[in-house]
């Protein structure tokens, strides 16, 4: 894994770094949004219910 990343960085570092950043960022944000987004839906529906009362 580490060897693969080092090899990546030796060839066309811009695209390699961007690909690495992309995969790390996307994996992280997916988990983060999955957790926090559920809370957002809950709060949105609660506020809509309250506004109707």
């Amino acid at each position: 894994m580490i060897d693969g990343i080092i090899n990546m960085l030796q060839n066309h570092w811009f695209w390699e770094l961007l690909t690495l950043a992309c995969l790390i960022w996307y994996s992280t944000i997916t988990i983060y949004v999955a957790v926090k987004g559920a809370g957002d839906i809950h709060n949105m529906l609660r506020r809509l219910t309250e506004s109707k009362k």
Binding site: M8, A34, K36
Partner: protein, 487 residues
């Protein structure tokens, strides 16, 4: 022959069932037109990020960005980098989106009425709907082509499969509006992202980074890594894409709808900055899939169609079990895009094009009825135009032209509306006319006349020129109109 098994079918069926049920269940929260169109302006940051990302990644996006990777190498991902920069800067500075969200409008043309009058609002609505719906018209068939090639399904059932999918999406969008779109987008974002990430790691593991780099080097040389050294790209390609993507960030209906549905202006801006890097992934991840197809497939397998190379490659290398995740991910991507497009363009028809018919305020019940009817009619249009009618000619040019008809004039109008006091209805009308006619004229000159070769070779130069001319039309038109004594 692909690896689509019974297990894969079960994964896809489960995903579809959960999404449909969730989409239909939130219908009870819709009481007003504002709930239906902008979710009562109760959308918070993370739901906004999930929704914007899911909406802006459909199968058609995956196909064309993969084709960019196949045809241009890594340099084909440059539009994604440019979109990231544009969206981050717009979100960070609040350029245009702050005054737009602060104004409390539901659509962009509604803001234009305050500056340019009701006729410009109506004309803007027509241009937005025309460009948007024609653009969306090709989504269904392209999505169907992908699914058929990946799953190995009989192509004879493509129309029936995509019709059923569209009906399912239309049902929950009609019932729950933006609320259903947001909730299903959230689920679709998770499924879509999981599929994209897992498949990319699988490709990197099976093909290897060195093979991808060497493939690009062999086929395109330095031009596969640097857009300025690529024969089919260059400076004009980069500048045109910078203008196009900035205009899309400012005015593309599905993107700006998230700013307008946000609970406040600060949240809307954070949705933009938080989602911006996703646009790099949107181009780079399918681009890598396209490069992998270039590395793995023989010319016989590609059969001259670079658009279908990526799904063919996936059909060959993705194992059973994971194929279900991939198809579910792509269905998620397509459904979230379709639902959001139907709703947001429907909102412009109701809010702006039908505005002259609503001079006496309509009841919420009547407003909801018409919004739901419009979405159903858009669904019928998509079915007839996009699926049962086979489009002739180059699809990429088609998408570019239909997009530019709307983006060039609307972005210029929005900037002038927000930041130029002297801007007025004459300038706005001139910009709308130029923005609508010039792309069509360019397309015509690419096919007829003595300079067809020049126009074909310099299509991005023409694209840049259109944006400049539309901006000049706004300036000259506005300066020509006599100023009111009250101003």
């Amino acid at each position: 022959m692909t690896n689509f098994s019974l297990l894969d079918g079960s994964i896809v069926a489960l995903y579809l069932l959960v999404t449909m049920v969730a989409g239909v269940m939130v219908r009870k929260y819709v009481g007003k037109v504002e709930d239906f169109l902008v979710a009562g302006r109760e959308m918070n940051l993370y739901l906004g990020i999930a929704s914007l990302a899911a909406t802006e990644f459909g199968i058609v996006t995956c196909m064309y960005t993969a084709q960019n990777g196949f045809d241009k190498g890594f340099a084909g991902a440059i539009p994604g980098v440019l979109t990231f920069l544009a969206m981050f800067l717009v979100g960070y500075t609040g350029f245009c989106v702050k005054p737009l969200r602060d104004s409390g409008v539901i659509t962009i043309p509604e803001l234009f009425e305050k500056k340019f009058g009701p006729r410009i609002r109506w004309a803007s609505g027509v241009v937005i709907v025309l460009g948007g719906l024609l653009n969306m018209g090709v989504f269904l068939r392209t999505g169907g082509d992908f699914l058929v090639n990946v799953s190995g399904m009989n192509p004879d059932y493509l129309e029936e499969m995509m019709t059923l999918l569209l009906i399912g999406v239309a049902v929950y969008t009609i019932l729950g509006g933006m609320l259903s779109v947001l909730v299903t987008d959230y689920l679709q974002f998770i499924v879509m992202s999981a599929g994209l990430i897992v498949v990319t790691f699988l490709i990197l593991d099976q093909v290897g980074w060195s093979t991808l780099v060497n493939t690009v080097q062999t086929h395109y040389g330095e031009g596969g890594f640097n857009p300025l050294k690529n024969e089919s790209m260059g400076w004009s390609y980069v500048i045109f894409n910078a203008l196009l993507n900035t205009a899309a960030v400012l005015t593309w209906q599905t993107q700006i709808a998230r700013v307008l549905a946000a609970k406040d202006t600060a949240t809307g801006r954070k949705v933009y900055t938080g989602t911006s890097f996703f646009f790099v992934a949107r181009f780079l991840i399918p681009g890598i899939w396209g490069i992998a197809a270039l590395a793995l497939l023989t010319p016989e397998q590609i059969a001259g169609n670079s658009l279908l190379a990526m799904p063919k490659m996936l059909g060959l290398i993705i194992p059973a079990g994971m194929m279900g995740l991939l198809v579910a991910a792509m269905l998620a991507a397509d459904m979230s895009t379709d639902s959001s497009y139907m709703l947001t363009w429907g909102s412009v028809i109701y809010n702006d094009i039908m505005a002259p018919f609503r001079k006496n305020k309509w009841s919420e019940k009547k407003g909801l009825f018409w919004n739901r009817t419009i979405i159903a009619l858009i669904g019928v249009f998509l079915l007839i135009y996009g699926l049962w009618y086979k489009l002739e000619g180059d699809l990429w040019t088609y998408l570019g032209i239909t997009g530019t008809i709307y983006l060039s004039s609307m972005s210029v109008l929005l900037i002038a509306c927000c930041y130029w006091k002297r801007a007025n209805s004459w300038g706005a009308a001139a910009a709308i006319v130029c923005g609508a006619l010039l792309p069509v004229a360019t397309l015509t000159l690419q096919k007829i006349g003595p300079y067809t070769d020049w126009f074909k070779k310099n299509d991005t130069v023409c694209g840049v020129a259109i944006y400049v001319i539309v901006a000049l039309a706004m300036i000259i038109g506005s300066l020509l109109k006599p100023q009111s004594k009250n101003v």
